[in-house]
């Protein structure tokens, strides 16, 4: 349960960050309060985890760009502002608190059946990471290739049939081809 342990570490790091470094109530959370790095690996099977340089990203992006309304910064998105203009800081700002890691499971889907729920379309954890990171990286020229951020594991090589699992002249191309 290597992944579990690491995940726990990440969560702990975030929790410690939240407890020790939480700013005074009422004021917006400061970027300096945040952890230096966050290890993103709760989903690592095909790819290894990412050591996300949080400190660096706080210099090139504002908190709300990734954390939406949860850090207490000014909400500008016209859709979010309808409810979150004054919702202030949340108790937690970590991605996985809001974005489910079991997206599309029966439980996840049935929760979204609630007719009173507005956030029926909230991405799961994996989707949230990639949609946020990749979209911004595309705009700002950051890395966008899969292996620019995380190396493929052996399980990944197997599924993608690449590396040592790549098709060869003799094994590949059962496809009728041209």
């Amino acid at each position: 349960m290597r992944t579990r342990k690491k995940l726990l570490r990440t969560t702990l790091a975030l929790a410690i960050g939240s407890v020790l470094l939480w700013p005074q109530p009422g004021s917006a959370m400061e970027a300096a309060d945040a952890p230096e790095t966050v290890e993103i690996n709760s989903l690592s099977r095909l790819y290894s985890g990412v050591d996300f340089n949080h400190a660096m990203h706080t210099e090139i992006a504002t908190c709300v760009q990734c954390h939406h309304h949860t850090t207490g910064g000014e909400v500008t998105d016209p859709n979010c502002i309808r409810c979150h203009a004054k919702s202030g800081e949340s108790d937690t700002v970590s991605c996985q608190e809001c974005h489910s890691s079991d997206r599309f499971s029966k439980e996840d889907l049935s929760k979204r059946d609630n007719p009173a729920l507005y956030h029926i379309d909230k991405p799961g954890l994996k989707g949230a990471y990639h949609l946020n990171c990749v979209t911004c990286h595309q705009k700002t020229g950051g890395p966008t290739g899969c292996q620019d951020c995380h190396t493929m594991t052996e399980a990944g090589e197997k599924m993608f049939q690449t590396g040592k699992y790549a098709p060869t002249e003799t094994t590949g191309g059962e496809h009728s081809g041209h």
């Binding site: 095909l46 989707g127 993608f160 590949g172 496809h175």
Partner: protein, 309 residues
């Protein structure tokens, strides 16, 4: 056998044979009353999110135990491949394909995933005269390879060119197409392998009705980002797999001329070509045998509806 260019001409040739066809009694269309299941599941494919990583293709290959591809799934040169002037398409070795589209005026390419759309009123199902196809309450369109006679009517009837065939022998044809991961996942309420693999959540799995709600919400809240249309909400009477796009759908390879009603009526016309197809097919004898034993099979059908693979 590759089926890229010949289908339309095949249809035309087939229609010429309808004269001969009229001697056969018309198919009793029990399928005419079929409608989609209210709680059926579906997938909303959002082209604005897809980055062309091909994870879905790799996952499908693994899940469906399909043959090894010619190129690894992290080889992006496949996007430049052209076969008879057309982009890659699904076949008996790959149930799903992602193609790249360079849209004029856009500074980035768009990617479109193709697979069976799991129509609410599937033309493949209504056209099949041995009832090889089933639309399950979960939304999947699956098939029973044991009764298929390889006549290829479904291939012609499908508005999206999806069913293909594998011939291990002339008497043992087998339909091959995306089955929504029915037997390994959907049946148990789990998302298909391709959906689970997608890093971008470009594939959203859920109840079809909910997906339409989600699609509308995305369009409503970010109108600049989307065409005001969910492809598949009404096309061919509705499909379980639906699409959102940032550009007009015909610019990313979608057939925007498909009818808004089910293909059923059109299929009835197509049925005339079945005998024609049969006469040119070696499976003719297998077909006769099947027709003869079909009554027995139908009787048993209710008892083993899960026979399909």
């Amino acid at each position: 056998m590759k089926t890229t260019v010949s289908r339309r001409t095949f249809i035309k040739g087939g229609l010429a044979g309808t004269v001969a066809a009229t001697v056969l009694p018309e198919k009793k269309s029990q399928a005419a009353t079929f409608e989609g299941y209210p709680d059926g599941m579906g997938v909303l494919v959002d082209l604005t999110r897809c980055v062309g990583c091909r994870s879905c293709e790799a996952a499908c290959n693994e899940e469906q135990k399909l043959p090894q591809p010619e190129k690894p799934f992290d080889d992006f040169s496949v996007f430049d491949e052209m076969h008879h002037g057309q982009k890659r398409r699904t076949d008996e070795t790959r149930y799903t394909i992602v193609n790249r589209y360079d849209v004029p005026g856009l500074d980035h390419p768009l990617f479109r995933k193709i697979q069976c759309n799991h129509c609410q009123e599937p033309a493949c199902l209504t056209s099949c005269f041995v009832n090889a196809y089933t639309k399950t309450p979960e939304g999947a369109v699956i098939y029973n390879p044991k009764v298929c006679v390889g006549c290829r009517t479904c291939m012609i009837a499908c508005p999206f060119y999806i069913p293909t065939f594998k011939y291990s022998s002339a008497f043992n044809p087998r339909i091959m197409k995306c089955i929504f991961c029915y037997d390994t996942r959907l049946k148990e309420g789990r998302p298909p392998a391709c959906v689970e693999a997608c890093p971008q959540e470009a594939l959203t799995f859920g109840k079809r009705n909910k997906l339409i709600e989600i699609g509308r919400q995305r369009i409503r809240e970010t109108p600049d980002k989307y065409e005001d249309h969910i492809y598949g909400e009404h096309e061919v009477g509705g499909t379980a797999w639906m699409y959102l796009s940032s550009v007009p759908f015909d610019q990313v390879g979608f057939d925007t001329h498909v009818p808004k009603e089910p293909i059923l009526n059109y299929v009835k016309d197509f049925l005339g070509i079945v005998p024609m197809v049969l006469t040119i097919w070696p499976a003719l004898f297998a077909g006769f045998h099947l027709l003869a034993t079909r009554k027995d099979w139908l009787k048993n059908k209710n008892e083993d509806t899960h026979e399909e693979e």
